[in-house]
Symmetry: C2
Subunit: 393 residues, 2 copies
């Protein structure tokens, strides 16, 4: 075990904005790389989105990074960025398509100066997509890719997945792609230009839905609520508990038998007319009623414990307030309560993976915009690299 | 540009099941690694889940892999797996917690034999979680992590994100973690044991929701339907088009002015009483009505084009049937129509990232269970590695 993370020694310039780029940079930072977040003079747009107060999300996604503010619209800002990129292993960006090229900071330029650089770009729509000129954010991407169409109840409207899921899918795919390019660099000595699009990673996450569609395309209902779209399995839904709802799924007949016994209904487990999924589906209202009869008498915690003992997949539906106050996530280092001068305590994510050979290092609080500008640019100057005068910042 | 992928030369043993492990292995395969899918004699459980027919999802997530069937309950199967792991750079698994250890195939054993091996394990709940003994699948994980609580309409029930999103988030995080361990191996010469849990990666994808909750915890509504939970922005919703629905979001006041002009309503753009988000939120029914008046007269494609021209984020809500038949995804190599002997043509995902220095290699059709067993084990024998007799398969 070593206190240094698996990516210590790497230097990453993180031009990420909002969620996608910053989440990618966060993975590098939490694994021990030196990550320099480069922001416009006013800071990454996400910092101020919450009506003048600093946005907790910016604190959650930029921990363990340094912050340098540069005005990339100015010659001095651009030359500082070029100097930074010359010293870096990785540069991450998720600006609008064409922005980096317009600034004279595209991959061809950066790569000609530093052939070992891996540049990672995350966009909503891919550069070769017919939609490439459309403004992209998580909400429209969920609409176009079908993610929204498969979410919600059959008799209701499509609804977005409430999390900005395509941003996070995008950010972690970008991280994976950059790591693959770094791997190849170990052989070739050359960096690479890695591009991902939210539209593509969202599409691939629909593999199970597309598979269900292919099996029964005629009259296919995209949305199944909290049930199964195609498989003839039941019970599979949310059920009412004394203090909320629980998810219970019997993916196979064994689950049903185990659930019935956990409910104190061995008669149901042994009823041959209920033994198979299609039969239980045909009598779904009745089956769900038996399950509800059991769940309504218990708390979510009691039901979760009983399901776990019975080896039946299920869990409480938890609210955000419950999730944010989860002790187990704190004990396990998945949430760190870090101080912020104005916001108080922020529940900052820990690295969502463990390594047997590396200690998990707790995150350091996210920097205020620009706190590291003078030091980082001063070090570049000392190293004899071309940099702007300090007063440009 | 080289035809070899960035991960060519790596050898990966993919014990993945269903979605999480196989998606991780798929990334390796599509980037040029040699990926050997190891399945039980009847094949990965997902192959048969569709009522006797082979499951298209298994074809979509196992392209470009080889398949070896081994009975890991037998001494011969286990010794073949050990011999395979001895030759590998990476071993992926997402079996139930404790399974690998019970089989005598845990990391300590594998690592003692092959210290360069990186073993990647993906689980629903982490090994150190209080929930570690609960059976985990995407549905209960969405419930417990709050992903379900933030999805749906404020006056309706929580609903799952229709995609098995925590499986795919898990798979790509596992890939990223394994790549980080391979990076560290370049310095230390030693492999590592990488573990991820769906509960953790799902939690981190809720950063923007948790941030919104922290800003206004009192009376916070977890679910906002297709609107914004906290930001005072409007219009931001789905709107009815002639042939379906469109997502339109005005995240800032500039978007509103651009949208109004695109709708042929410059009067709205210039109305000072509508200039700011909070004012438009207060008159939301009226504002949404003006937008609907415009959208109902047009097709989704017309609206999407107008929004793109006006630089307003928005997109059609597309059905799965539309997504599956998307020509642009085919042109761009994101969907490959590959033949399957029984199922016909399957829309197989392409690598969701591009590299400037590597051609994108089209996927090869997924193997039938066990087609490569004799060849792969024969090669191990020829190399003088301990293997079982061929008739054990």
């Amino acid at each position: 075990m070593t206190a240094a993370g698996p990516l210590s020694g790497l230097r990453v310039i993180d031009l990420g904005q909002v969620y996608l780029g910053p989440y990618c940079g966060l993975m590098f930072a939490l694994m021990g790389a030196e990550v320099i977040k480069v922001e416009p003079p006013g800071g990454d747009g996400i910092r101020g989105i919450a009506g003048g107060r600093e946005n907790p999300a910016a604190m959650m996604l930029n921990s363990s990074k340094q912050s340098v503010t540069l005005d990339l619209q100015s010659d001095e800002g651009r030359s500082a960025l070029l100097a930074l990129a010359d010293t870096a292993d990785v540069l991450i960006e998720n600006s609008r398509p064409g922005t980096m090229e317009k600034l004279g900071l595209g991959w061809k330029t950066l790569s000609a100066r530093n052939p070992r650089l891996v540049m990672g770009s995350g966009k909503g729509y891919a550069a070769d997509s017919v939609y490439r000129d459309a403004p992209a954010m998580d909400f429209p991407i969920q609409a176009l890719t079908g993610l929204m169409s498969v979410t919600g109840f059959p008799d209701g409207s499509p609804v977005k997945c409430g999390a900005a899921i395509t941003d996070f899918l995008g950010g972690i795919h970008l991280f994976g792609g950059i790591m693959a390019a770094l791997h190849a660099r170990g052989t070739t000595g050359l960096g690479d230009f890695v591009q991902i699009a939210m539209q593509d990673v969202a599409h691939h996450a629909l593999a199970s839905n597309i598979s269900s569609f292919l099996l029964a395309p005629d009259g296919f209902a995209d949305r199944a609520g909290n049930s199964q779209a195609v498989l003839k399995v039941a019970p599979y839904d949310l059920f009412p508990a004394r203090d909320g709802q629980v998810a219970i799924m019997c993916l196979n007949d064994r689950h049903w038998q185990q659930l019935s016994r956990a409910m104190g209904r061995p008669d149901l487990a042994e009823d041959p007319e209920l033994a198979e999924g299609p039969a239980r589906c045909a009598r779904r209202a009745e089956v769900d009623g038996w399950v509800s009869d059991w769940t309504t008498g218990h708390t979510r915690a009691e039901i979760f414990a009983a399901l776990s003992d019975a080896r039946v997949p299920g869990a409480p539906v938890r609210t955000l307030a419950e999730v944010v106050s989860d002790d187990d996530m704190r004990t396990r280092g998945m949430i760190h309560d870090l101080p912020h001068p104005d916001l108080g305590t922020i529940p900052v994510p820990g690295l969502p993976m463990t390594f047997a050979r590396h200690d998990r290092v707790p995150p350091r609080p996210a920097p205020a915009a620009g706190v590291d500008t003078a030091r980082v640019l001063g070090a570049l100057r000392q190293a004899g690299l071309s940099t702007p005068s300090e007063d440009s910042n």
